[in-house]
């Protein structure tokens, strides 16, 4: 008898164990900032206008660096700026695809009237939900589909990639650069091409090798890709993935790399050449103002160095003075419009001229990039 009751007790223990596993799986990910609630609570006398609820969907964890971190900095900045007029919340680590739609609908159900989706792959989900909820304004980072209540915004990342390329072209010893790509979409192809063009502007012998990892965030895989590039003599790396793994792999191997999306200088003191950073706050501020003042309308916003959205910062002391000066000149040129990254003649790596001499590429051209420029090795992977 004793043994049966013991066994039942043990079985119950197992059930609790399995249950807690499933609840943990469900409960992780969602986070709300309790700060604003605390502020509101003590004063109840004067009826205040309802704060505008602003929701954010992040593709990665916030962490200490990278793409999602940069968006979250901007979220905190607008929260600071608008105080009690808005209330923000975010959901992190939302996979691109079917799950995203559920999360966006959930944010709508919670009363968010302005929703920022901060990754390319949320586009389809965003479009569907936007159709069902005309009263909510939707903002999609790096997207291309718009609707009456859905607009897109983007930085000019390729400007930073070009500047990084200029530094890389001067710092490389092997004349081989490496690039860890996420997905072969125009945004990433633009960066690979700009990186190469920048390097070629100071060093015509440059060749760029590309490895695709088919993910935005998978540090072990990013390390392996970086290692593979280094093994093939690439000695200055840039990545379009979100973690610090590429930079850290370069550090381990005594090579150079760049920080991407946020200041990553602390992660690899020796390997770090510069960090491309994004300041989303001014745009998020504008978007909130648009909604508060009822001036929100559909558009496609592309901001770059000129508007202060992109910048290349924390240039390493290892970079010679004349190169730093060149970077400053280029930045000034981007700001006053006297310099453009994609200016003809540009030919792809099969030799075909894709931009005639002296022609400056427009946004439509940049949005359709599906080739590697001369100097990049290999073919753009086909079939998505």
């Amino acid at each position: 008898m004793k043994s049966t009751s013991k066994r039942m007790w043990m079985r119950a223990g197992f059930a609790v164990f399995a249950l807690s596993a499933s609840t943990l799986m469900v409960s992780c990910g969602k986070k709300e900032e309790p700060k604003e609630v605390a502020k509101e609570a003590p004063k109840a006398e004067a009826p205040k206008p309802e704060p505008l609820k602003v929701g954010f969907i992040y593709v990665g964890p916030v962490g200490d660096a990278g793409w999602t971190f940069a968006h979250d900095m901007a979220r905190k900045a607008i929260e600071e700026k608008f105080g009690e007029k808005i209330k923000t919340s975010f959901v992190e680590k939302v996979p691109e695809g079917a799950d995203a739609e559920r999360v966006i609908r959930d944010l709508v159900a919670q009363g968010n009237k302005l929703i920022f989706a901060t990754s390319f792959g949320y586009g389809d989900a965003m479009e569907k939900v936007a159709k069902d909820h005309p009263e909510v304004k939707f903002e999609h980072a790096t997207g291309y589909k718009t609707a009456d209540n859905l607009r897109v915004y983007e930085g000019r990342f390729y400007e930073d990639a070009y500047l990084a390329g200029v530094i890389a072209g001067k710092m490389t010893k092997s004349n081989i650069l490496g690039f860890v790509g996420s997905f072969p979409i125009p945004e990433v192809l633009r960066n690979i091409n700009a990186y190469t063009l920048g390097a070629q502007s100071v060093n015509p012998k440059i060749r760029t090798k590309v490895v695709w990892v088919n993910t935005w965030f998978d540090p072990p895989k990013e390390s392996e890709a970086a290692q593979s590039l280094i093994n093939q003599k690439a000695d200055v790396l840039l990545q379009n993935t979100d973690s610090t793994a590429v930079l850290q792999t370069a550090e381990k191997n005594g090579k150079f790399a760049f920080g991407w999306d946020s200041d990553m200088s602390a992660f690899a003191p020796k390997a770090h050449l510069a960090s491309a950073v994004l300041t989303w706050a001014p745009y998020y501020e504008k978007a909130v103002n648009d909604v508060l003042n009822n001036t929100w309308k559909t558009e496609m916003t592309k901001w770059g160095t000129k508007e202060g959205m992109n910048d290349l910062i924390k240039i390493s002391d290892a970079v010679p003075e004349d190169v730093r000066k060149k970077i400053d000149e280029l930045k000034a040129g981007l700001k006053d419009g006297s310099f453009a990254v994609f200016k003809g003649p540009i030919s792809d790596n099969s030799g075909k001229v894709v931009l005639p001499k002296d022609e400056v590429a427009d946004d439509a051209w940049k949005g359709k990039i599906n080739f590697f420029v001369k100097g990049v090795e290999g073919k753009v992977p086909s079939g998505k």
Binding site: M10, D64, K209, P219, P220, K252
Partner: protein, 305 residues
Amino acid sequence: MHELALLIAAGIASGTPLLLAGLGLLLNERAGVVNLGAEGLMLIAAVTGFGLAFYTGQTWLALLGGAAAAALFSALLGWMVVYLNTNQYASGLALSLFGAGISAFVGAALVGKKLEINQNQGLPLLADLPFVGPALFQQHPMVYLAVALCLGMVLFLYHSKSGRLLRGIGESPASAHALGFPVRRIRWISVVVGGSFCGLAGAYLSVVYAPLWVEGMVAGRGWIALALTVFATWRPWRVLVGAYLFGSVTMLQLHLQAIGIEIPTQFMSMLPYLATILVLALISRNPSWIRANMPASLGKPFHPG
């Protein structure tokens, strides 16, 4: 030539976590227990190891701590499947899901934190040899420890009395029981020790290999290790060969991309499983082959008395 040496080195480094986890699972399975919790155990160990490395700066302490954490959860699993006779497959899956959840929960504060990186020193003298130096002898010490553990596993399983007993239990727990051996205790110990191997693999990933912590970073390596034991027909040396082979395929795929040869990455990542299915199909064609290789009591609970 130098590139080939580096490719081999990268394949070995990439295969090492598979080797460690595969050896642990092999030990479990040789005693008759299937541990589907490997993925979860590796995640628990990865977050524990990374946390320890981050707060103490001690790599070896972190690796041991990871192994200990995995051993702890394996002890729980072992208690359930060995003493309570719960279904091994269901319990293992539960542990895998639980490990994914708890590691994400505990590790939230560690995401994006940074560890000090040391350049690999390699083995003195041997590291300077042409070709074989860069190919084999410039790795992290864990890589060599994994090989030593493989040798240890061979010696234990095939050249020691207790190893033979363990294999005997995997074949016929009833006979071992009739001869007076504590079947359940030995099985439980094998689950704990095997789990600690998985832990070592997980901690190696987050502390040495990446070195970063992020939720779900084991990314299916636990499942590949499970497939590996079948692929290796439950022999330690074949686990080593298989692990390095799978690791090399991963690296080769990236390497070919950088050269400009296009192979869909999705195809390459399915290869280990495809190879396992092939091996299974081949050994299943011949019943005596299965009898000769697969522990006869694998996955079956044992009721004494």
